[in-house]
Symmetry: C2
């Protein structure tokens, strides 16, 4: 008897984000729902992450409404979402009153499986959401953000898995957002988790095909006991996206493992998506093929591309290698946070400033907060001198408590604000407003208009965000001694005025 | 101590054929020669196969001269070629006087490793070339053409490997031209060969990335003891091409296996090829991504595409599925020859005729010859009724001897003919003429002109050939009872007049 390997299909959300940098129109995916719902998937990942923001900002579409549509049209299969721990679907910490309500409403609207991760791998940032998921009677999957470093060893990750399990999670996900998970590491990590947390601990592996090796990593993870793997239907796979679902099915043939998937249904899904994909051609702004050179610096492909773009904008493309090198130093100084959003963007922007302006002569407020523990605790030791500089910059001390413990309950305030801005009075609207106040305020005014079913590309940071460093929009020449930049982190703009250190 | 896995780089020949359907200009590849020659490859595959024909037909370039250039500029690394057994670099049998001279001259001009395969896996078709390679003191690698069927089991392939070894081959290649080699089959096959032929028997695995699973197959083959794998530099890899070299290096990290390759040199090669590749954009006429659906029918991707094109030309695109199905029947009737050139084309054309004209009411002369043993012996039993029809069609009997035994030594005759057509008097020119008489005759007249260093695409079957079935060029309407088609097999045209059976 072959052992069953379960599959989470990423077509409905992350595959779109990774390859198209937008969400596909509902009309383009509805025709495959019957096949998806009957193909035998363990779950369909379809909500959360950057898609929430895209919905209100670019599609003029209520993300909660889309979720209800998924639930109605996909009645048989588990629906899964990506939740960034205390950040929910945004990039800053929320207080627990928001976290618990967000999870409760997501569960009520249709989510069965919550994949919960934190870029700093600080389990305290997962706890409130895991508790809320358990309270709602749903599946809590705790994620390890996989980003190797001198302190992020297999042993450290296995220990982290144990902590995640102790939170009460129903499964553990090894989440590799850049295709950095090599085959042997995949094997060792899954094996370690199974040995340490118990062989009945469900383990899921999420990886990207970016580097060309992770299909092999899935095989090795399965050999080590991995229960669930993430893939995307082949016509929306590969590149910086994911490994192809149908290839996974074929890969297992004769191995003693097998999926439950119905190949004919998969093939119909593939064909339909291949047919509609050209509508999103203008969004495809990434190289095809593989980027194994990422192993040399471990910088996420999207961040590297963004850096390149920014450095060209600064007329300093020749400094790109220096910035890539500097990211390693800044990461070390910050105690090796994972190179995942938002830490990757924060480190990237700081590395650029270090190269362009001198080492830590300018510090962004986000980087300062990261150094001072306001995002959580990083896995390694921080460089004390840089912590001191950050404390001076922000005029506040480093913290060691869970960051959200400093936040006042904000539900009632946000509820009042949302109503004043034209929300429809639902709790879901309050949550939308809490996530993205500016975009939500605009959305509340425009929601009655039809949703834009063929989104137009935007010059703005869109979907997968990155730091956007550019001259002040005014275009005025600034005095040589002092320059003002607009630094965009996760879509939020900050004016940064730079004066060279004496 | 990690075990070394050796690598054959396909960039210089097969990767170009698979992805660009042409040969790159020498000037575009020479800049990477120093890195290629010092990167630590076991061999550089660079000659033979379809490239020979392309050279004289499309590039106005002497393939022997290109080989000498490779040898001169790549002094350190083994140069490897693909030789189709008794067919050499064409698609029909040659007598042994031609075979032995071709090998001798290829060795003298620079080839170190001869990969020798036959689409029917008839080892008698390998013998003359293997003997010639050994006589020249070079490395003879016998290839198993991997194309699973009810009679082509792992046991049968292992037995074939033993026969190949007994010919005196220095190594055995598992050659999978369509990405059909699944991981477990790769493991079982390599393990079987090692157990049966001795663990010191060098085994090489060649596969394509077409179906998205074969990177895993390479890993499993290596675990089973495979010594050499074929890959292509990542900027000319994937799709219907090959797995990326740099990803292979990364894949092995920490596994107990490692390559000798220098990652920095590989990265420079990648970057240069990525830079020049856009010059060949117009040649890229295949879908990107993966085609795991090939597992359902096992029809080579290139053949399927060609079929589709032909069926549209016949205004019968709706019959494509029927033709794909019919190929399976025709293959069975022919004793399961591998779906590799030339058998794949012969079966494809016959299947189209069967669907369009009625089952075997029209038989091409190539198909008849295949049925009658004139290409060699197929692995399975042939359908006797179809053999009888073929015998009637050709008015000759089936044979069981080695086909080349029926051929008169032709060296002297071809030498005289080549001289009369303007050859330069060299043995190499005679061989070029022997391979492709018409193209060579034209080439002898035009060779003094500069080589076309940026080849132009052609509507003709080009590089990777397939059957081209089209209405007679005259365009005249034929009487309904009788039609004439030009059937092109491997670039050679045949008039086929079709009269429905009574």
């Amino acid at each position: 008897m072959a052992r069953i390997v379960e599959v989470t299909e990423l077509l409905l959300r992350e595959a779109q984000q990774s390859l198209l940098k937008t969400s596909m129109a509902l009309d383009d995916v509805i025709p495959v729902f019957e096949d998806l719902d009957n193909a035998g998937y363990w779950s369909l990942e379809c909500w959360g992450g950057t898609a929430f923001h895209s919905s209100i900002r670019f599609l003029n579409e209520d993300p909660w409404e889309r979720l209800r549509t998924y639930r109605k049209l996909l009645p048989k299969t588990r629906l899964q979402m990506l939740l960034r721990g205390q950040n929910l679907v945004a990039h800053r910490n929320f207080d627990d009153s928001i976290v618990s309500r967000f999870v409760e409403k997501a569960a009520l609207n249709g989510i069965d499986v919550f994949r919960i991760g934190d870029a700093l791998n600080d389990v305290r940032n997962l706890k409130a959401s895991v508790d809320a998921v358990k309270k709602a009677g749903k599946h809590a999957q705790g994620a390890i953000c996989y980003s190797p470093s001198p302190v992020d060893t297999i042993v450290a990750f296995v220990d982290l898995a144990q902590q995640i399990k102790e939170l009460g999670c129903d499964s553990i996900c090894v989440q590799d957002v850049d295709g950095l998970l090599k085959p042997q590491a995949a094997y060792d990590l899954v094996k370690g988790i199974k040995q340490n947390c118990g062989s009945d601990t469900l383990v899921s592996v999420h990886t990207h095909s970016t580097t060309g090796v992770t299909m092999v990593s899935l095989m090795k993870a399965i050999e080590a006991g991995c229960d669930i793997v993430d893939t995307a239907i082949s016509s929306l796979a590969l590149g910086r996206g994911h490994n192809p679902t149908e290839s996974l099915v074929a890969m297992l043939e004769g191995t003693g493992y097998e999926s439950r998937l119905d190949v004919e249904r998969l093939h119909r899904v593939k064909q339909h998506i291949a047919k509609v994909r050209p509508r999103y051609r203008e969004f495809l702004n990434q190289p095809l093929g593989v980027e194994p050179e990422i192993f040399q610096h471990q910088i996420p492909a999207a961040l590297m591309l963004n850096m390149e773009y920014q450095m060209k904008g600064q007329s300093t493309p020749h400094l790109l290698d220096e910035v890539a090198e500097e990211i390693q130093h800044v990461r070390r100084d910050a105690g090796y946070p994972a190179l995942a959003i938002p830490a990757s963007e924060i480190l990237g922007t700081q590395a650029m400033l270090n190269v362009l302006q001198g080492k830590y002569s300018v510090i962004t407020s986000e980087f300062a907060d990261l150094m001072l523990g306001y995002y959580g605790t990083a896995p390694g030791e921080k460089q004390p001198e840089v912590v001191d500089k950050a404390a001076n910059r922000q005029n506040k001390a480093a913290i060691t408590c869970r960051p959200a413990d400093l936040l006042e309950p904000s539900w009632e305030r946000r509820r009042t604000e949302a109503l004043a801005l034209g929300s429809n009075g639902s709790d879901e609207d309050v949550l939308t407003y809490a996530m993205f106040p500016n975009a939500a305020a605009r959305f509340f005014q425009t929601r009655t208009a039809a949703s834009k079913d063929t989104p137009k590309p935007s010059q703005e940071t869109h979907g997968v965000t990155g730091p956007a460093l550019s001259r002040a929009a005014s275009g005025e020449a600034m005095p040589a001694e002092s320059r003002t930049y607009i630094v965009k982190v996760s879509g939020e703009e900050h004016n940064v005025t730079v004066t060279p250190a004496q």
